[in-house]
Symmetry: D2
Subunit: 384 residues, 4 copies
């Protein structure tokens, strides 16, 4: 094995497993790197399915017990792409085994789990990362650069929405994402967690918040097969929806910024509307995942008369990561946010450095999620 | 005097006075009507200024004391376009004098004032209206029609922002809109009140809310002349800003709808960004005052594959009020919302009916404003 | 009569007559001016209709023969808002009578007529203007300013479309706009003429062009009443459409700019899509009448990374004419282009100066229209 | 070798070589297929560079003489991603050798070459395809489906622009794309060819056209290294630009549709603005590569009042190819057009069928390109 080969073992192979597999395959094609990711093995309980997935996605082997994966000494990195309720157990075992870890968000079901996970990766000195992929859009990275350079001046506002519509139909089945014991929460942890991460990345740390959480459809048909977003339903039997359909909150940040947040799966016509606007003393930015290559930037010191939001297509060498892809104006897509993220992760593993966002970010995010839940339960403001 | 002449006396002649004057002049040009508005008199304290305004805007006479205007028996309607702290006193006097009343928003400084005002107009059986002009955009009226017809089904969400940026500069002077004793509140009553009215119009009544109010710039230069939006400042002397720069709140409506609201004057690049989105079971709508002729409509029962927000230019005969103006695609502007509003008011006066929105709407709006202030003060949820 | 009263006599009172009437009424309200337009008289053949129009629109008197209007010595200005085939005769008579003239576009049916009209106004030393209203959008005026200041550098391209859709239905009746003897041409003279004027205003003079003209629907039902855009049809009887449904042309300008132009009434979904883009060495601009308050501006010397079209809402004091209206972000509409135009006209009449665009512009425009027709007929390039 | 392995040999490894390599690697990951593309060998003259490219992009071997590649019997498919002037010679040799061929556009430098190439692939019964990748955007494919189903009715108009801005700077060097003997033409063949293909795909065959071609900057610095889009220049020495900077044309199609086309590299702010609008009797569509996931669709039989362009995010299972990727609303990018194209090509090779677009399309496209050149030269209409 050459020094720069990094051998991956991935647990879970659905939506996110597919996405991560693709990113491992694609990242060395685009970036100048000495890293060579080796797709060593994937794990899943259903042997036929995991075997087929391994072949389809190019993994050299498979296991039907994730513990076996962690025991293997031909694996450097454990990639945790499983439903949320398994995160903690797997991550703790992987850390104990000295494996570097990359994990899907949210980090865990609870803050307590997240704290133990962070402690474990620190104690075992393994490298750790959490997949808040939207940070890795070139437009978002460029927004971060503008903010860090002070181009917006002191910040005043962030308003962030993550709107989807795929469960508005009351006959949409009770998939695992709608069960609290598996997913921890609903819209909040699934999509709201992304908005929280973007806010932490671009604006700063949350100080206090007040929230509403709501489940509009209380019962749904039992899913005949608990797959990803598109499971079919047996409409004769119903089960309780135990997570939120929508989560809204107001927040104050440590630096005085005011935020409004909204995560919902009940916004018809919004397939995947992850967007935010940030306003500062000297300018504003707007971003919308559905047009993720674009960043809208307003600069208050532009010449009077010529002031207006600039629609910047962040596909130029000036925009972070964009230089790895195609000429200006040739847009990239959702999957490239993961390729960029995996780039950062594997380069860090190769260099022995710690990438961002990591389990510490995961824990802080989890604390915000917990605060949103507590605020909704108590119907009061909650401090972080 | 013919039966359909309606003689107006207007108090105040700044921004809103100019706007109302124009609407009185323009309304009979566009609409089929038997009403003939007579611009009888305006009142203002500065004789030179009020005289010049009367000449410029076509008023037949002027008074330097608004009480004189109310005493005159050649006036049928009192139009109150003055700063907010004068609303109650003038409205009570006008109602006592049996004058019909049209008044700028917000109705008053306090709920108590608003209640007395409503009582007065009812007791004196005068017709009353409050100028929530944005209701009168053809696109908003059409949105109302779609909602009333059930085209969106059961409603789930409203998110409404009213964003401006004209006071971000700390040297912007302490105009009357920044003084609580004159204006009642800041962004909240000035622009947030519009979002509240749109929400009440389109979605329903507020049940409970929780808010943040913030004053980012605590002191500002004394305004050398307390004019409209563009007063100059004496930067050597500073005074306290006693109103909110920003007001944000989450709300539940009686019908279960969840709302996020944000009114701020600190959103660089947003000159007058009054916008909302409403999501229902069967569809969604979006509107933005800066492109006020357009309504975006998503209908979930559109054919699969062909689902998407429709960009509807509401300039057709099918769209309320639009038939009074120009051929399809020939857009109208901000001032036309007032022309439409004045149309409804004067037709109602002529017919002896009560138009909407009226003082009752004003009072309900005031109660929401008060709840927002109370919630911010108590840092807790407040029920309406 | 005070020195600044200007007494108008208008011929025609349909769509454009209504628009002009409104502009005369509204202009002194918005602008600082010593001009007082007097709506002295209108003329039309149908006495009942012209009388009703006079009352509705505020004209002091009416005539049923336009010649009578020109004979009256209490009229300073003749406004010609009639169908195109009457323009020349009326304008010649008005000029002979020493009346100042404002006329709807296109100037005439033929270049020969246009030349005689220009000669007449010059000989009689009357002030003359043609109503290419789109020039008078603040955004277009601001575009002109940017170009004149060299902000776009040397110009390379203009692409201008004027797309409508109101006659796609084959049962739309044979109104006067579809009859060559009345209107001169179809899309070309009605809407293409506007694009030509915008190009001449912003880019320069046409040098040569090559065109296509097409009539997609050759026969249409006879219109039972030849009104404006919305006449009803008697579908049992058909007549020949004698004008173009669409006119497209490529052009070279004297300064080397290349242009593509397209005027059509067969572009479904485009109610009134009058738009253009101009590209220069140092920047580009885009404008679209359906969002007429906005100008998109790209400046190539913007900082790398921050380059992008700026969406400028031309409602600020920095934008020509916009200061006369409302605060920034409070948009104006189609009719305001006419108010601005009438402002320029009446101020010029009062000052004894010659406004733009004038009959000379009308003649040059007519020559382009004639060249487009000749090129389509000959199927070859035509030089201006 | 299993039956479904397809062994590729690619000539050229710059921009398009990189793009194709990626598509071969990625296609089996996304699509259900029995095809296994084998990246057998690439060819290039510079040994160090081609070796590095082979390693970087995952090719098993390399050759420094493309003829060697064609001689190898372990290769089934020749991929021609070289500059245009080499296309004919390579394609003829590959066809003679019985290799299936996929080639970058434009097919050749001349119609005569294109004819010989088509003849060769037919005679040798090899499968052939040309890389008009924009056809393979899900939105464009969906547009095609709508048109074929008659959803737009009889078509009237297409207006297609392909605007770029990367050579506006006169110091941009004289790269191969600016040399006629290497590239055949400039904007015309490089980007205009794409618009022509989209028009042929969606609208039909060209009947006649008239054009302008222009070279705004006649001389440029010699490129010190003739690379892709970003070569550096030696500004002390200049050479003649022998291709068009811009090509514009009007066209009639066999079915009566009228078209306006414009290809230019002098449109500041338009990085890669490949867009079109098509208008038919019953509806219209708009597409813009910079937002390639979206299709705007207007349907004239939508309910009055609710008519407007729908913004459809073509990322759903209902949209061709989109089902192979991510959930609705998770957008794809430029490179996915090539993945889709390569899918069609390799499936056809495996099945022994002939995919589209093929050399016949390439020839027809070449004839349009030649007609545009001839029309510009003769300054007259040219029939196809």
């Amino acid at each position: 094995m050459s020094q720069k080969e990094i051998r991956i073992g991935m647990i879970g192979y659905q939506f996110m497993g597919k996405m991560h597999s693709h990113a491992y395959r694609d990242f060395p094609f685009y970036f100048d790197t000495e890293v060579k990711p080796v797709l060593q093995a994937i794990a899943g309980r259903n042997e036929a399915a995991v075997k087929a997935a391994a072949e389809k996605m190019g993994w050299a082997s498979y296991e039907t017990d994730w513990r076996r994966l962690i025991e293997r000494d031909d694996i450097d990195v454990i990639d945790i792409s499983t439903p949320n309720h398994t995160h903690a157990e797997i991550a703790l075992a992987a850390a104990e085994a000295g494996k570097h870890i990359i994990i899907e968000k949210p980090l865990s079901l609870t803050v307590e789990e997240a704290e133990r996970m962070l402690e474990a990766v620190k104690k075992n000195k393994v490298i750790h990362m959490i997949c808040h992929n939207y940070r890795f859009s070139p437009a978002v990275q460029y927004a971060k650069k503008l903010i860090d350079e002070g181009r917006l001046g002191k910040l005043y506002h962030i308003r962030a929405n993550y709107l989807q519509d795929y469960i508005v139909d009351p006959d949409f089945p009770l998939v695992w994402r709608l069960q609290k014991d598996v997913s921890g929460s609903g819209s909040l942890g699934d999509i709201g967690a992304h908005s929280i991460d973007l806010a932490r990345f671009l604006v700063g740390e949350f100080k206090e918040l007040v929230s509403i959480m709501e489940t509009f459809i209380k019962e749904r048909p039992i899913a005949s097969l608990q797959g990803g977003l598109s499971a079919t339903a047996d409409t004769s039997q119903k089960g309780e929806v135990t997570v939120d359909d929508a989560a809204l909150f107001l927040a104050r940040f440590d630096n005085g910024v005011l935020g409004t947040f909204e995560a919902t799966r009940f916004a018809q016509g919004n397939r995947n509307k992850n967007k935010f606007e940030i306003n500062g003393e000297k300018g504003s930015i707007r971003w919308d995942m559905e047009n993720m290559n674009n960043l809208e930037v307003y600069l208050a010191d532009d010449e009077p008369g010529l002031q207006g939001f600039r629609l910047i297509n962040c596909t130029e060498e000036h925009h972070p990561y964009a230089g790895a892809y195609w000429p200006a104006g040739h847009i990239i897509g959702y999957e490239h946010t993961f390729i960029n993220l995996i780039h950062d992760f594997l380069e860090a593993v190769a260099a022995g450095t710690q990438p961002k966002p990591d389990f510490e970010d995961g824990l802080k995010n989890q604390k915000v999620l917990a605060a949103v839940e507590e605020s909704a339960r108590l119907k009061s403001w909650v401090s972080l």
